[in-house]
């Protein structure tokens, strides 16, 4: 399949300022040849009752509260499924069934490693600031990568990102996406998370140098990597089986990089580069809102160029302890990034960061709604970009891009991982019947459904070899209600 080529100036316009349609139909392409793509987004810290929409027929409307969290999604209702009554399979298997005891062992802050796996977590290492649970199964996005050669064969099999620099190791800083099994077979590896959007830009679009210099740089890189591969193979014959696997992983990484080098030097032109001052390695970057936007822009551009078909965004950790919102201070002044020094002491009493706002959602309901609305605005921006960027078949990209938006817990202070409300935007060539509100994914009032029904549907919609169930089959198969 050929890559798209398009005019640099149109792409710049699309990425930088106004959201104009990017791509004119580019030759005759059957709709079925248009690639299907998947984006998963995870956000922590739950939500207030204002996040639940009002039923209108089979659809919904946002609650008319101040800072109504769902209001930014109103223009995109036709492209959305709002789904309630979702349970995440929690914790280490203690013999308790999630259907009977949704909070069997672990709370919403430790849920990220198995949010999208459809299977319970397993105990990971004990770490300095907590106890780490990890994944026992692939996450849905990486499963799609592995099952579809057309996806894994892209220069970037997936783009795994988060908009803030977080150190590894904390229980809240665990990844969202998991791929192959670890060496001991007990848990799953996570692809490296890309944080700095300008590094992502350089990786995708080759940095600032001109095409001749770029090609020269790539030829040199290839010679370095080829040499490294030869040396790795010399070692591989001698080492033990665990080390053989390590070397195999290293060789695979080199193959990936070489594929990226070969592809980038061609038709796909770089978009404009955002203002580099938005990036900071601080764990509470005051311009994180702009980093999220840039990462969305890069994801849509990479998908438009067919450099990748799968993306994973975490916004940001599973507790957002360090995430503050100074850009919202024009709407609620206390969200400004200043500390008065007069607040009472005690854990979790600060008014600024996402985690603390969530814990005080009773007293800080306006703040909570506003920050939840902010993340929903980012989600809406994603939908908007995908809706206004055209595929070569002339249809908006969103027609063939699924965007799953998953919150990790129900209320801010309660940490519940049952009865969650998630969103599925976009479509996979008409697979889903959008424009609806399903208060209960199970289809039955007050009956909760595990994530598996939704995740199985995504896997099948993406065109993976059809499966009866995704994750742990004990949690059942596809939720057909999603198709209408």
């Amino acid at each position: 399949m050929s890559r798209y080529s398009f005019d640099r100036r149109t792409l710049l316009a699309g990425l930088g300022g106004g959201l104009v349609p990017l791509l004119a139909p580019h030759g005759a392409r059957a709709a079925s040849a248009t690639p299907k793509r998947l984006v998963v987004i995870a956000v922590p810290n739950g939500y207030t009752a204002d996040y639940l929409p009002e039923v209108v027929g089979t659809g919904w409307q946002a609650r008319a509260t101040e800072f109504s969290p769902l209001q930014p999604l109103e223009p995109w209702k036709d492209r959305l499924l709002v789904m309630g009554g979702i349970n995440v399979q929690n914790g280490i298997d203690t013999g308790k069934d999630v259907k009977k005891d949704p909070n069997a062992t672990i709370a919403g802050h430790a849920i990220m490693p198995f949010l999208l796996t459809g299977a319970k977590g397993v105990a990971g290492p004990s770490i300095p600031d907590g106890w780490s649970l990890t994944a026992s199964h692939c996450s849905v996005d990486q499963y799609v990568v592995q099952k579809l050669p057309a996806v894994s064969g892209r220069p970037f099999p997936s783009l795994v990102m988060r908009p803030v620099a977080l150190s590894a190791g904390g229980y809240g800083n665990t990844p969202l996406s998991y791929s192959g099994k670890t060496l001991d077979g007990k848990s799953h590896n996570a692809p490296s998370i890309r944080e700095n959007p300008f590094t992502v830009f350089d990786d995708l679009f080759g940095g600032k140098i001109d095409i001749t210099a770029l090609q020269r740089q790539r030829a040199k890189r290839k010679s370095i990597l080829d040499f490294s591969s030869r040396q790795l193979k010399q070692v591989q014959a001698r080492v033990g089986s665990d080390d053989k696997q390590r070397i195999e992983n290293h060789l695979t990484a080199i193959t990936e990089i070489e594929k990226q080098l070969a592809t980038m030097s061609g038709a796909c032109q770089a978009p404009g580069r955002a203002d580099e001052t938005i990036w900071s390695t601080s764990q509470s970057n005051p311009k994180m809102n702009l980093v999220i936007r840039t990462q969305i822009d890069l994801t849509v551009a990479a998908m438009a160029c067919d450099l990748t078909r799968v993306a994973s965004h975490s916004w940001c950790s599973s507790n957002n302890n360090t995430i503050v919102f100074p850009w919202l201070a024009d709407r609620i002044a206390s969200l400004n990034d200043t500390w008065t020094g007069t607040e009472t002491g005690g854990s979790g009493n600060n008014l600024r960061n996402h985690h603390t706002i969530a814990h005080n959602e009773g007293q800080l309901k306006r703040e909570k709604n506003l920050v939840d609305r902010f993340f929903i605005e980012c989600f809406a921006y994603f939908i908007e970009k995908l809706s206004k960027t055209m595929d070569p078949d002339g249809r908006p990209m969103i027609e063939n891009t699924l965007v799953l938006y998953a919150n990790m817990q129900r209320t801010g202070g309660g940490h519940q991982t049952d009865n969650l409300q998630w969103f599925l935007a976009g479509n996979a060539n008409g697979y889903f019947k959008q424009g609806r509100y399903l208060p209960f994914l199970s289809g039955k009032t007050n009956q909760m459904a595990p994530t598996n029904g939704l995740l199985t549907a995504i896997v099948n919609a993406m065109g993976c070899p059809p499966v009866d169930s995704f994750g742990d089959p004990a949690y059942g198969g596809e939720a057909t209600i999603l198709r209408g």
Partner: protein, 559 residues
């Protein structure tokens, strides 16, 4: 009883039934769960003591950590740009110390970009880099001599002739031939290729040239040299260590011991101690931490981390080396920024000056600001995080993960004592684990969310008294953190734990109570008989089987 059995007694005592899963369990990786050694191995019940004493663990390949990478390029090329800062974050593996585990395009790509940048800088003056003039007819001779000498340092072993030829062929056939690069582009590309080589990136050196020694393999001399230098310096061997390996002078215990003493006395040992201490105490991410306190910021955080590094190096490398001193000394050092934080107005400038803490205010490394600030909530001290740190990292006990559906503590109230707010933790299902953490953590209540000393918390005086449950097998009470440091600094359990932590840091894996028993016993004996001298313990590890030997890995083929 031999000295080592005291360690065992601690392990067994720790298995007494308490809450938190029924017992306080240790955090080891081996069998039995009673500490590093099971009674069976000690009495020869499993194959006999002699067989166990001859054992050594496996030595998996591992990538240089970020700290090791930065140190190595500094020593190899004088490049002090800390290129590893741009690498993806490391995972704290099961050891609690950094391990690069991911081998994907993002990570390998980051190494590639670093290699290019470093090589570019190093190649600005080719004559100096290569030690010969590559211009003119002698080009290939010069390239070959560079590959031989630089390769020996970069790969930490002599290159075989065939390998030298492969490198020269890369230069002549590919870089100059196919790609038609001039010297000024071909040379940095060759250097980058060597920095991207698995022989540079992996700690594996000439592992396959090990010789059989009973059931195990004895590392060859250059591999051992590298093991020693990364253990003591977190960096590549220096010329003297490589020369000792060349001459076959890393054979006897006395020879290795002499090198260990030399390496410990070298300033480069401070890098390794800093790296250890920062990870052991969990202060690496302090710079980015959000703390609500006037004056808090990256500058102060960096000053705090640097103080902890200096404190550790002063005690461990330059002072009497005793664990007791590490835990109880009141002598630290500070620059003006940090001194002002500690309430000292006489120290000025950016060069650290000696600073002695007031009696009763602070004592030892655990009461320095960095560790206290790192284990705190945004706007208050956290008894839970601090207690957890001591329990896990200083006492080597394991604490299971928190259960789900945990309710919040009551909101802070300046008129309610903090301990009263935490009363819920002393009841029901909370109690089992929190009684292991909270009482220890409350000892540190004299230090606020950034580690500043205080006597009042809100409107009430601080109460820092309490008791440690199950320290050396019994409950021991204290009046304050300073008082508690005397208990920790003289505890068998803490001494054993610190040894294990150094083992995990140095060998990138948890100790195995079967394979490593002889090495651990040697280190433990040396540690104990020297009244807790950390240098003696480290030197004993350096001459033990875990340093000099390894097991054949499953599936490994020796040439």
């Amino acid at each position: 009883m031999q000295p080592y059995s005291a360690v065992l007694a601690v392990g067994l005592a720790m298995a007494v039934a308490t809450a938190c899963g029924g017992k306080i369990s240790d955090d080891g990786d081996g069998r039995g769960g009673t500490g590093m050694a099971s009674p069976a191995t000690m009495t020869g019940g499993r194959g006999g003591t002699a067989a166990v004493a001859a054992a050594a663990g496996v030595l998996p390949m591992r990538l240089l950590t970020r700290a090791e990478y930065d140190n190595t390029v500094l020593d190899l090329l004088g490049d002090d740009s800390h290129p590893a800062a741009a690498f993806p974050p490391e995972d704290a593996g099961s050891t609690g110390f950094a391990q690069v585990q991911k081998l994907d395009d993002v990570n390998i790509g980051a190494y590639l970009k670093a290699a290019e940048t470093i090589a570019e800088r190093a190649s600005k003056d080719l004559k100096t880099l290569m030690g010969c003039d590559p211009a003119g007819a002698a080009e290939l001779v010069c390239v070959k001599s560079f590959v031989t000498s630089f390769g020996r340092r970069a790969y930490r072993r002599p290159l075989r002739d065939a390998e030298v030829d492969e490198h020269v062929a890369l230069y002549t056939d590919t870089l100059k031939g196919t790609l038609k690069l001039g010297i000024n582009e071909a040379m940095p590309t060759l250097v980058a290729a060597m920095l991207q080589s698995p022989f540079f990136l992996y700690r594996w050196e000439s592992a396959w040239e090990a010789s059989r020694d009973g059931r195990e393999l004895k590392l060859n001399a250059h591999h051992l040299a590298s093991q020693l230098s990364y253990f003591f310096w977190s960096s590549m061997p220096d010329a003297e260590l490589m020369a000792a390996a060349d001459r076959g002078e890393l054979q006897t215990t006395a020879q290795i011991q002499a090198q260990a003493v030399r390496l410990l006395a070298d300033p480069r040992a401070e890098r390794s101690i800093s790296s250890f201490v920062e990870q052991w105490l969990g202060i690496t991410a302090l710079e980015g931490a959000l703390r609500s306190k006037p004056g808090w910021g990256p500058t102060l955080a960096r000053a705090m981390i640097a103080e902890t590094d200096r404190f550790a190096a002063d005690v461990i490398l330059k002072g009497n080396g005793l664990l007791t001193t590490l835990f109880t000394s009141r002598l630290s050092s500070a620059d003006a920024t940090l001194a002002a934080f500690y309430g000292n107005k006489t120290i000025t400038g950016t060069t650290p000056q000696p600073l002695t803490f007031a009696q009763g205010e602070r004592a030892g490394i655990l009461t320095l600001a960095a560790t206290l600030a790192a284990h705190a909530d945004e706007n208050d001290a956290s008894p839970i995080l601090r207690g957890k740190l001591i329990r896990e990292r200083v006492m080597c006990d394991a604490i299971p993960p928190p259960p789900g559906g945990v309710p919040d503590l009551p909101a802070p109230d300046p008129n309610t004592p903090k301990k009263q707010r935490f009363a819920m933790h002393a009841q029901g299902t909370c109690k089992g684990c929190h009684e292991l953490m909270d009482p220890i953590g409350f000892a540190f209540e004299h230090y606020d969310n950034v580690g500043a000393y205080r006597t009042m918390d809100g409107k009430l005086p601080v109460d820092s008294s309490g008791a440690i449950k199950g320290l050396d097998g019994s409950d021991q009470s204290f009046t304050s953190a300073v008082d508690m440091m005397d208990l920790l600094g003289n505890s068998d359990q803490v001494r054993t734990c610190l040894m294990k932590q150094f083992f995990r840091f140095g060998f990138a894996r948890k100790e195995n109570e079967d394979a490593d028993v002889a090495s651990l016993k040697a280190a433990s004996d040396a540690f104990r008989s020297s009244n807790g001298n950390i240098r003696k313990m480290l030197a004993a590890l350096a001459t033990s089987r875990v340093m000099t030997h390894r097991s054949l890995a499953a599936g490994e083929v020796l040439p």
